[in-house]
Amino acid sequence: MKADIRLLGSVYAAAIADLSRPHPVAAERVGFISVALGKLSPNHFLLLGHGYTAVPDAHYLDYPRAGACIGPDAIRAAMQRILDTGAGQLHVHLHDHSGRPRPSRTDLRDMPALVKSLNVVGPACAHGAIILSSDRAWAQVTVPDSRQLFDASAVTVVGFPLLFLNR
């Protein structure tokens, strides 16, 4: 299974702007990118990021052992967005460095449970997580034909300029 992610430039810019803001409690911010699905071949999917939704300050939990911890309200809002719009959801956060970001142990531990919740309400969508650094990206996704998270093979930002964050 393969997946490429293509993000609208304005979505990427909105994510970077929001995720770069300090939070009153958490050390970092998270958000969600809405994605539509395209198929390049039977086993090759295209995830098209067309919207960004910030997580409201009040939806974070005060949990010092993680950079950011969002509560059930944030997850419910993402699930409701799937039901309302039919768009898949990519959890997104920033790592403050250049070069290819790596998921933390917390990311790897908690992400499957989050994605499982998203798949419950949107089994026909693609979901997952994406980590952005200043110039690269890392992403894992699920697609309708496979509930297992796997690495996205390409992340591209369609803006001025065109950015190949992971290829």
């Binding site: 993000l7 430039g9 539509a36 390049l40 919207g51 369609v158």
Partner: protein
């Protein structure tokens, strides 16, 4: 054949990472005639290595006035235009991967979705509308080129042309006024001043070079100045390219013709 690291030294001003960006970019070209053949030749010189070419037509004698790479022998052999383009590209860059689709792009739209940038070198307004619609659906920048010859009785003919960068999320060719009901209706009625698709090599070259320049800027950001759509008008009698005046009067807000939440494959829903 291996190239030395300084093979691209003359274009190193494009940026330290520019060659990697160029080599990573998958370029689609719809139409390999007078415009598209210029474009692929220049892209190959620049070091682009991943091509998807769409054209089902074979070269004819009347194409030799403008089809770059075409030969009299190709005409005798009824060679496909995409084969000529592939030969041209691989002759310059043997490592290039060229996927050739001997069909109209609409019949192989899944292949088109893979492209990072599409060059639209198609004939007619309706073909342009269809290509832009698909490019928007899959968040792919489209660079459209085209030319025409206008004849007004009592005056010499005038060559006009356009280069348009249609970026997802930005105003489209309808927003910019290039595509409209009038032009589509006129085309449907087969209206034309100087016969079917008059084309000459030099104006195609100007338009193709300008389109390639936009693509290189989009991919490398070398000028740091390409930050919005482009609509350039060519006038053959003066040899000038100027930004279209409509760009100054575009309605504010997102493009209403291609909403960004309308992307992706169509859904099948049982009602």
């Amino acid at each position: 054949m291996n190239f030395s690291p300084d093979s691209f030294s003359r274009q190193s001003f494009l940026g330290p990472n520019s060659q990697a960006q160029i080599e990573n970019c998958v370029v689609g070209v719809a139409g390999l005639g007078g415009g598209g053949s210029h474009i692929v030749q220049q892209l190959a010189h620049l070091g682009f290595l991943k091509f998807v070419l769409f054209d089902r037509d074979r070269i004819e004698a009347s194409n030799l006035n403008r089809l770059i790479g075409g030969t009299a022998e190709d005409v005798s052999n009824h060679r496909l235009k995409i084969e000529i383009a592939q030969r041209l590209i691989v002759g310059i860059r043997p490592a290039a991967e060229v996927e050739m689709i001997a069909d109209i792009w609409q019949n192989c739209a899944d292949v088109l979705k893979r492209c990072d940038v599409i060059f639209g070198c198609v004939d007619g307004f309706d073909q342009r509308r269809q290509l832009e619609s698909t490019a928007r659906r899959y968040l792919i920048p489209l660079i459209d080129i085209g030319m025409d010859v206008l004849v007004v009785e009592g005056s010499p003919p005038e060559i006009s042309g356009q280069v348009i960068l249609s970026m997802p999320g930005e105003p489209c060719m309808t927003c910019m006024g290039f595509l409209n009901d009038h032009s589509l209706a006129r085309e449907a009625a087969r209206y034309g001043d100087a016969g079917i698709n008059p084309q000459v090599v030099w104006s195609n070259g100007v338009l193709a070079s300008t389109a390639v320049g936009l693509a290189v800027d989009l991919v490398t950001d070398w000028s740091k100045s390409l930050r919005k759509r482009a609509y350039l008008c060519y006038r053959g009698s003066t040899g000038t390219l100027t930004p279209h005046v409509r760009l100054d009067y575009l309605p504010p807000g997102p493009c209403p013709h291609h909403p960004t939440d309308g992307v992706g494959d169509p859904h099948l829903r049982l009602l």
